[in-house]
Symmetry: C2
Subunit: 69 residues, 2 copies
Amino acid sequence: MNKFEIGNEIKQRRKFLKITQQELSEIVGVGLRSLIDIESGKGNPTIDQLQKVLSVLGLTFEIKVKSNE
Amino acid sequence: MNKFEIGNEIKQRRKFLKITQQELSEIVGVGLRSLIDIESGKGNPTIDQLQKVLSVLGLTFEIKVKSNE
DNA sequence: GGCAAATGTGCAACTTATTGCATCTTATTG
DNA sequence: CAATAAGATGCAATAAGTTGCACATTTGCC
């Protein structure tokens, strides 16, 4: 799962919850600019940033042993 | 899954592969200091940093909808 | 089409992560 | 116990992420 896929997951989830980037950025406490970069896969956020966004969206991430894709 | 748990997963996997932090840092191309911080949960690495480490260790991460824990 | 909201971009200031080095504390092994 | 390797910490310089602002582009709705 790369940064673009991560961004897409977040964008999909946000749209599912019917909130705008601006609203989400305010709720999460992350700058709008950063959120935009995260969703579009252009940024390289820290884990804290990512976790805050995922948490508010009701998402979480897990580490797994890579199986034959 | 928080930063400490992430660090532990990485440390466990590294030990399973029987390599030292220094060896892993050289293989991954990440500074030893950063790797130490990641494993101990003290750092706040970027996704790129984390991805590089996970990739070399044969690990991957997925985003999921949070279910009732 | 036209308007308004939402999303994306360039830039600069500010904050924070990354890295290497020296040093210290813990294992580990003979 | 002694010696060596592995792991951890403080610090300073460098590299990179974060943010807000102004402005451009796209999207959605009437």
